[in-house]
Amino acid sequence: MQKYQLKTFPKGGVHPAENKLSAGSPIKILPLPERVVIPVVQHLGAPAEPVVQKGDTVVAGQLLAQSKGFVSANIHASVSGKVFRIEERFDASGYKRLAFVIDRHDDTWDPAIDRSDTLHEHITASREEIIRKIQEAGIVGMGGATFPTHIKLNVPKGKKADILIINGVECEPFLTADHRLMLEKSKELMVGIRILMKALGVDRAVIGIEQNKPDAIDLLSSLAEKSSGITVQALKVKYPQGGEKQLIKAITGREVPSGALPVDVGAVVHNVGTTLAAYEAVQKNKPLVERIVTVTGKSLQEPSNFLVRIGTPVAEVIEAAGGLPEDTGKVVLGGPMMGKAVSKLDIPVTKGTSGILILPDSEAHRKPVQPCIRCAKCVSVCPMGLEPYLLMSLGQHQLWDKARRERALDCIECGSCSFICPADRPLLDYIRLDKMRIGALIRKEKKAVS
C-alpha cells in the first residue's frame, strides 16, 4: 500500500545504486583542526576581497573577505587564531587560489553570535533585514552549486514568485548530509522555511523529499501540519530529482523554459542546508562557517556525517571516519554522479562540499572508451531532453556554434548520459567543454556589442 501520493519529473533520469551507508549515523562534531585554509572563492561568481591582513588575530565568525561584485559572497573565519598567511593554495578547483591560512588558538567566537541550542521561533526581522543578514552571513546554495542565496531571494522587478520549494531530495548516491540534517535539525529547518517565505513574500512552501527517506518525510510532515502554508511532498526515487528544474517540474508541473530562471515560472528552490544556514544567520547572527559533510565509501571504516568547520583539510575529515583505506583509488568531493575527484588531500572543505567519497581502486577507474553504437540511451536518460552523443561529437569537432544551437547550455551536468553509456564514452567531459567554449563565445559577442 502506498502511504503517500508520489510525484516525479517525467523526462529521463537514471537509477544508480543508492548506497546510503551513513544514513543511520548521527551528525558528530569534528574535532577542531589546528590550521584551516579558507579560499576567497567558495561560491559561484567573483572572488571576495580580503579585509584582514597577514598576522591579524581573528575570532570565529569574523569577516575575512568582503564580497565584490553582484554575484559574490562574504567569507568568514571559521576558527579563532592568527592569520598565518594569505597565499595561493590548492583547493577543490584543482588549481591554486588565494586563501587565508589561519593557525587556530582556541575557540573564541564573535560575541554577537548566539551559539546556544535554544530555538528562536519568532521572526522579528523585516524582509529587507532578512536578505541583508543572509547576504552578510555569506550564505550560498549548499547543495553544491554554491550560488549566492541573497540574489535568489531578491526577486527581480516584474517577476513574482508564488511558491518556495525546499530541496531535501538528496538524489546523489552515498550522500546523507541533508537527510541527517532534516532529522536532527527539523525544528530549526521549519523556522528557516518561514524566514525564506517571508523574504520572498510567498505563502506556500513545499519540501520535496524522496521516498527513500521515509523517516524524514514523516517527521517533517508532522511538523508541517502545525505551520500554515508548508507541506511535504514525497517523491519517487530518481536521479537527478535534486536538480532545480527537475524538482520544480516534479512538484508543480511547471517547466522552466530554456535559458530562463526558475523565478520566471514563479518558483524559487533552496536546499535544506541553505535553509538551516538562513535560520542561523537571521535568528542567531551566525555566518556560514560550518557545514555538514558526509564521509563515505564502501571500504571506509565508519561512514559518517560530521559538522565540519569550513577550511578543515579533507584529510582530517577522512581520518575521523577511520582513516584512508589502503586500497583507495580515488577520493571524490561531492557524490559519485556530480562530484569531482581530487588529486590532493590537504585541500580544504568549503561551503559547497556536501560529501567526501572514497572509492576503492577496483571501482575507481574509467573503462576504455569504445565507439558510439547509436543506442540512444543517453538521449532517453537526459532529463533536459538533449542529445548528449551529438553534443559530444560537436565538441570533438569544435563546432561550438552548432552545439549552441543544440542547446548545450541547457545541460545541468548531472552525468546521467556518461553513467548509462554502454560504450563508456566521456559524454559529459565534452559537453562541459562545449559549455565553456560557448560561454567564451557569448562573452566575446557581448564585448563586441558594447
Binding site: 588549481y95 591554486k96 588529486s343 574509467r366 566521456p426 567531459d429
Partner: protein, 317 residues
C-alpha cells in the same frame, strides 16, 4: 506506333528549347561578375586551407587580397615571402616581406624533469584536462601532453615524444600557421623568428610562479633569477611575472645566456657543439670526452637532444 515516337520527340525538343531560352535570360539577369584575379591568386596559394592567415580558407584570403589596396597585414605563413611575391605580381601591388617563423614548445616538463603527482583518465584532450585541474603534475602552466596541438597541425609538423610526454616540432614541416598556438589551452607554443639554419634560443618555460614554488613542480622551470637578463649584451631579454623572455627579433644568438641559467631552462637548438670547449674536455679526461662527442652528433639534431648539450656545456664551465 511511329506517331507516338514522333510526338514524343517533338514535344520533348520543344520543352528543351523553351527551357533553354528561359535559362539563357535568367543567366543573363543574375550573372555574377567575379574578378578573375581571385582565381589567379587562389591558384598561387598553397591550398592548405589552414586558416593561418586569419581567413577561413585560401579562397577567402585571395578575395581579401584582391579587394585590398595594399598587402599590409595580409600574409600567407605557409607560402611565405615567395608566394606573397607572386600574389603581389598578379595584383600589381608591393609585397610586404615578413620574417619566416616557426613554432617552439616552451615547456621541458618531461617525465624526468617534472614528477607526476596524479593519474588523469578523463577525455583525452588537453582542453578538458586543463578545465579540471593542474593536470597529472602540479605545474598549472606546463604541457598536459595529450596532444591537442598535434591534432590541430595540418602539416605533420608536430609529434608527441613518448619518452618525454611532450610535443616536438619538426622545423622543416612547420609553416607557422598558428593552429597549434590556438589549440593549446595553456599558451605554451610560441611562433618565433626562424633564424639561419633554424637556430633558436628561447626560455622553455612559462611558469609564472615564484622560483621556489616553480622548482617544486619541475626541475627545469625558469625561476626568474635574472642571470640571463644581466648577461645579455643586446637587451633582448625582459623579466616579468617571475619569468625571463627572449625577444626573438632582438636576439643575436650569441648564446651568452645559455650557460648562466641555473635551471637549464634556456634552450639552444641546432647549434654545432662549441669547438674550443671540446678541446678543453679532451684534456680533462677520457670519460667526459666521450660524452661531448655524443653531444656533437646530436646537437645538430632535434630539440630533445640539445637539452643534453646545454647540460654538458654547463658542467664544462
Amino acid at each position: 506506333m511511329s506517331n507516338t515516337v514522333l510526338y514524343t520527340v517533338i514535344s520533348l525538343s520543344g520543352l528543351g528549347a523553351i527551357a533553354a531560352v528561359i535559362l539563357y535570360f535568367v543567366a543573363q539577369k543574375f550573372k555574377v561578375t567575379e574578378d578573375p584575379r581571385i582565381d589567379e591568386v587562389e591558384d598561387v596559394l598553397p591550398h592548405a586551407n589552414c586558416g593561418g592567415c586569419g581567413y577561413p580558407g585560401c579562397r577567402q584570403f585571395a578575395e581579401a587580397c584582391v579587394k585590398a589596396d595594399s598587402l599590409e597585414g595580409l600574409f600567407c605563413p605557409v607560402g611565405g615571402n615567395e608566394v606573397m611575391a607572386r600574389v603581389a605580381e598578379i595584383l600589381g601591388l608591393e609585397a610586404v616581406e615578413e620574417e619566416p617563423r616557426v613554432a617552439v614548445i616552451r615547456c621541458q616538463g618531461s617525465f624526468e624533469n617534472r614528477p607526476r603527482t596524479s593519474h588523469y583518465e578523463g577525455a583525452t584532450t588537453c582542453a578538458v584536462e586543463h578545465a579540471l585541474y593542474t593536470g597529472d603534475t602540479d605545474c598549472p602552466w606546463g604541457c598536459l601532453g595529450l596532444g591537442d596541438c598535434v591534432e590541430a597541425c595540418n602539416f605533420e609538423a608536430l609529434y608527441m615524444d613518448e619518452k618525454t610526454g611532450l610535443p616536438v616540432v619538426i622545423d622543416e614541416n612547420c609553416t607557422a600557421c598558428g593552429a597549434c598556438v590556438e589549440a593549446c589551452p595553456r599558451d605554451i607554443i610560441e611562433l618565433r623568428k626562424r633564424n639561419k639554419k633554424d637556430r633558436k634560443i628561447f626560455v622553455s618555460c612559462i611558469n609564472e610562479d615564484r622560483g621556489g614554488v616553480a622548482r617544486k613542480y619541475c626541475s627545469v622551470a625558469c625561476i626568474g633569477c635574472s642571470k640571463c637578463f644581466q648577461v645579455c649584451p643586446f637587451d633582448a631579454i625582459t623579466m616579468g611575472n617571475n619569468l625571463a623572455f627572449i625577444d626573438s627579433d632582438a636576439c643575436r644568438l650569441c648564446r651568452k645566456c645559455v650557460p648562466v641559467c641555473p635551471t637549464h631552462s634556456i634552450l639552444e637548438i641546432n647549434f654545432p657543439a662549441p669547438r674550443v670547449k671540446k678541446e678543453l674536455v679532451t684534456t680533462a679526461g677520457a670519460d667526459s670526452s666521450g660524452k661531448t662527442a655524443g653531444t656533437k652528433d646530436t646537437a645538430t639534431g632535434k630539440k630533445s637532444s640539445s637539452g643534453d648539450s646545454t647540460e654538458t656545456q654547463n658542467k664544462n664551465d
